[in-house]
Symmetry: C2
Subunit: 301 residues, 2 copies
């Protein structure tokens, strides 16, 4: 599982920092999460192939999470994309995109599917044989969702020496991986447990931005491999969290601790701060597995 941070600063794009966008690669699937202005350039810069992006998840309709979407959609058209594109985001996202396409007289040639979200309860919004994606309702100034990406349980792993020992035909390997027992030519039944090991552990990634401190999401993100949680402010400005609907580094770490996550990745820093290592310092007073996101950083889990 790999996360490439394309942008992780709040509010406005600047010369050397970008608003929120990140690419998650999980179980060989790729997902773009949020799409602030300039995301298409960041994708190019970090050599993410445009054609691999089939699903885009937008947390909320503030500009720093969303204003790069129309440009990306248009660029896909100019590059003669034909694969379908799925957009998941708050109700209204379709109207905004469709209006701008209409005004430019340039409708996409590829199928563009909008999945507009309105529920305040967590729901599964995408599922295939590899991954499921579930919303994480967040508390912000506008309707906002985080997203939980979770691998599907994989096949059991063959113990090759055992399988070869019984001289089992390769044609049966697939059903063994699926957990089936095997009947040998002489009628002996070999139990699956003898031939296989547990599947690889399931990995999961929770993206939570933007949100104020809210423990309601803890059960949803319990034990995830990695949690990206916004930390807009340091303790020196924690009085701004409530009114702006954001979290401090300490609050993000408190959620991570309560949810017993594997690693906490901090981001969505207010652009008032020069030194983002302070976020890690403050978060580590509460939780000890903390990473700081920065534009261009790649995390492997």
């Amino acid at each position: 599982m790999r996360v490439t941070i394309l942008g992780c600063y709040s509010a406005t794009p600047r010369t050397f920092t970008n608003p929120t966008a990140q690419v998650l690669e999980i179980n060989n699937q790729i997902f773009l999460i949020d799409c602030g202005e300039g995301t298409q350039v960041q994708l190019r810069r970090h050599k993410i192939k445009f054609s691999r992006i089939k699903h885009i998840f937008i947390s909320h309709l503030h500009g720093d999470h969303f204003y790069g979407l129309i440009g990306l959609i248009s660029t896909f058209r100019l590059l003669k994309r034909d694969a379908p594109l799925h957009i998941y985001g708050p109700k209204g996202i379709k109207e905004a995109i469709v209006l701008q396409l209409k005004l430019s007289n340039s409708w996409t040639d590829y199928p563009l599917h909008f999945h507009e979200l309105t529920s305040k309860e967590s729901e599964v919004i995408h599922e295939d044989e590899h991954v499921s994606v579930t919303t994480i309702p967040l508390q912000h100034r506008v309707y906002c969702n985080g997203f939980l990406f979770k691998e599907k349980e994989g096949d059991r792993r063959l113990i090759l020496s055992k399988v070869l020992n019984y001289n089992i035909d390769k044609a049966y390997y697939r059903s063994i991986k699926k957990g089936k027992d095997i009947t040998l030519d002489d009628g002996t039944i070999v139990k699956n447990e003898e031939l296989t090991e547990e599947p690889n552990p399931i990995k999961s990634y929770a993206f939570c931005s933007d949100t104020k401190y809210d423990e309601a999401k803890v059960p949803l993100i319990k034990g995830v491999t990695a949690l990206y949680h916004e930390s807009t402010f340091l303790e020196s400005h924690k009085h701004l969290c409530e009114t702006t609907g954001h979290s401090s580094a300490v609050e993000a770490a408190t959620i991570a601790k309560k949810a017993e996550v594997g690693t906490l990745v901090l981001g969505h820093y207010s652009t008032r701060y020069g030194d983002i290592s302070l976020f890690k310092e403050e978060a580590e007073t509460v939780f000890d597995k903390v990473e700081v996101a920065d534009d261009g950083k790649v995390f492997e889990f």
Copy 2:
């Protein structure tokens, strides 16, 4: 008069090139012309003070000329702007911006005035004591205007030695500059021509992008100090001009020649070309005062 090219490539923003946006400084006024994605970052990079921008002119609603506008408007709000902002562009521009502000629940605190254009005839759309701005109807795939910026005629210039010689009180300087004669204490009338020289010559700048070859605009831009004219294609692809509604370098130069402009500035290059000096080479076969725009380049006229 100074033009700062923030972006001058067509179609999509890329790692090292930007879509159309430029800043014109004329007679101490500043105008932003077009606003492709990433324009706000380009403004920061080139140290154009956001607060100086009071008028933004959008030629047409294709993304590479327009998708950076909503982000810039939002950033102005975040920076607590209070000065009014005037936006000039095709009908529909207001709906697109207002919808996105509404969706993000963040209306601007500063006055935002839209001047929507629908006329196919040239018209004066802005005028103050320093500058007038007139539309130049262009022929593109969607409704599109160029813009002609023209200094107002300045005051006549005092010949200080003469004025001092007549011992004229400073209180009269302003009316002398405005062209008035002066009656001395002894009743002698001194003609204005004796005290002043002609005003500085009027400068003017015509922005013409995007457009196919069209001589109809020649009378409008006759004799301008500088003409920015799109040249999307080289001769090798001139067959694409008609269908895409664009011009070649040779066509841009032909317009410049017919309009007897001071300098032709080429731009809006198709991103298929690696070497933009070829545009200058081809244009110079027709017209000899050619400059090639490039991102970050500053022209003084």
